[in-house]
Amino acid sequence: MDLGKDLVAASATPLVLAILADGDSYGYAIIKRVTELSNGHLRWTDGMLYPVLHRLERQGLVAARWRASENGRKRKYYRITKAGRAQLAAQRERWHVVDQALRGIWMKVCET
């Protein structure tokens, strides 16, 4: 299923924040998690994630740290900040509103 560029872009921030709220993580693992969560429907170009992470870092929503990984290479781990959690809550409310509205109309459309 092709979700379209705008929807992918719009969902990137809440998804990344939510995954990080679940625990610290790094780029590759975040992408894997997104694929799992969406049953493979939400496919990002891998490279696209990093500018998003860097933007969140600049906005202070996540913090990053280089740490050695189990295979010995350095890896950049991201952690959600307090501001990030607040932002996640706000995002959740917004998506909830959209979700409610869509649900309302779709129930009606499907029933008739």
């Binding site: 790094y26 780029g27 590759y28 992408i31 894997k32 170009t45 891998d46 490279g47 696209m48 990093y50 500018p51 998003v52 860097h54 933007r55 600049r58 990984s69 290479r73 350095k74 890896r75 950049k76």
Partner: protein, 457 residues
């Protein structure tokens, strides 16, 4: 196949991919490391799922997205990076930050040394003040060019033998600038002040190219460097002017006279230090942005061509002879130097492989009209010499006009051949850079031979 056989090509492929990323200005080395870690994780996961090494690599790269898209995404997020590199490029190049810091320290030290150098004579009772203008004018290039040469010798890591040879012209220059008892307002003294920097600039150039004045491309790089340095210097000077003006006015407001600080320290020290700092900036931003000198060349070539043609037409129509005085000689020399400069920078920025276009024809027109102006000026100088005899100014002007005449004739000839398709453009380039030492040689001759020949009073 053993796992090691898989590893070797994979490492090479990853290294190549990293190399491509490194050329993207918006992606820093830390990002490349992060992306590479991702790529390796992906490859590992795909190999585990049963793909062969190179297949896994291809899929992983494909999933990463095209380099253009990646670099665009990074640029959108980090737009400041495309600008910041104007000052500090090393991050982008992936070079270790330590070298940048060392270089900055060296540049700062040299700039301070240049600023102090111009205050040195004051310790020996030659203050930077009225009455000593001639001394400072003659020695101006000696305060900063040796330090600039030292910077390039350090940067290029030239051998000790070359360093010693580089020191020779400066030592000689210090002797010839001061050995003759120049009277105040002496013609040969003024000529020395004007020509010494030109002669010494070649020594700076030799240091710039790392001691080997052989390869044309490196010499052309030095030409480009000189042009960019000029532009940077003017920009820094503008800023310095604003700083000086504001300083004086601010202290005036509280009834403190700061003018002597500006005249004795701010302006001379700043002017010297700016040469070093400007050179470093040009070095640092090299190849990062489009160079400025060629752009200005494109802008002004048509304008100068029009001025020259109109000048020639009006002179022919009014039949007014050229009134040869010192100022006029200087104006004509400057004009011709400018035309040669325009040709030089047009040549430096041109793709030698490209076929002739309108701009090349325009260049030829400019060169030909400059040749005609040069011929007129030469004729006027020759008449003057035959009527009133030799003076140092006239001989210097005659020599310079002849040198420029030869250069312009050669350029015109090569342009014609190039436009007719008889010769490649690189011939013109070779001609221009091969000619560079001639200017310095003539300038050195003026400095060394004129005072004994014409007297120094």
């Amino acid at each position: 196949m053993t796992p090691a056989d898989h590893q070797a090509p994979l490492e090479a492929q990853i290294a190549q991919w990293r190399g491509y990323l490194r050329h993207r200005r918006a992606i820093y080395s830390a990002d490349i490391e992060e992306l590479e870690g991702h790529l390796r994780d992906q490859v590992a996961a795909l190999t585990e799922a049963g793909l062969a090494g190179d297949e896994a690599f291809l899929v992983a790269v494909k999933r990463m997205g095209s380099l253009d898209a990646l670099s665009r995404d990074f640029a959108r997020e980090h737009s400041e990076r495309l600008w910041k590199q104007l000052v500090i490029p090393s991050d982008a190049a992936g070079g270790p930050a330590a070298t940048t810091r060392t270089e900055m320290a060296v540049v700062l030290a040299l700039a301070v040394a240049a600023a102090l150098a111009i205050k040195m004579p004051a310790l020996f009772d030659i203050p930077f003040a009225e009455g000593n203008e001639a001394f400072y004018a003659r020695n101006l290039s000696l305060f900063v060019f040796p330090l600039l040469t030292a910077y390039f010798a350090w940067k290029r890591g030239t051998s000790a033998a070359i360093r010693i040879r580089l020191a020779v012209p400066f030592a000689a220059a210090a002797v010839f600038a001061n050995i003759f008892p120049f009277g105040s307002g002496s013609d040969t003294g003024i000529l020395t002040a004007l020509h010494l920097p030109i002669a010494l600039w070649l020594a700076v150039g030799i240091a710039y190219v790392g001691g080997r004045w052989v390869r044309n491309e490196r010499r052309m790089d030095f030409v480009r460097f000189s042009g960019e340095l000029c532009i940077y210097y003017v920009l820094i000077a503008l800023g310095g002017g604003v700083l000086t003006g504001l300083t004086i006015m601010m202290f005036n407001a509280i009834a403190v006279d700061a003018e002597w600080v500006a005249q004795q320290w701010l302006i001379p020290c700043g002017a010297m230090g700016a040469v070093i700092v400007g050179s470093w900036l040009v070095e640092a931003k090299q190849s990062v942005v489009e160079n400025m000198a060629p752009v200005l060349t494109r802008l002004f070539t048509p304008l100068f061509t029009i001025v020259l043609i109109v000048f020639l037409a009006i002179m022919a129509w009014t039949r007014n002879p050229i009134d040869i005085g010192r100022e006029v000689l200087i104006v004509f020399d400057l004009l011709l130097v400018l035309v040669v400069g325009l040709v030089l920078y047009a040549v430096s920025a041109r793709d030698p492989q490209a076929s002739p276009d309108l701009f090349d024809r325009l260049q030829l027109l400019l060169v030909v009209s400059a040749l005609m102006v040069d011929a007129v000026a030469l004729w006027a100088i020759a008449t003057r010499i035959s009527e009133f005899g030799l003076t140092p100014n006239r001989v210097a002007a005659l020599g310079e006009n002849l040198i420029l005449l030869v250069n312009l004739t050669g350029s015109a000839w090569l342009y014609v051949r190039f436009l007719r398709g008889d010769a490649p453009f690189s011939r013109l380039e070779t001609w221009q850079v091969a000619y560079l030492p001639v200017y310095s040689a003539w300038a050195a001759l003026v400095v060394i031979a004129f005072p004994p020949l014409f007297g120094s009073q």
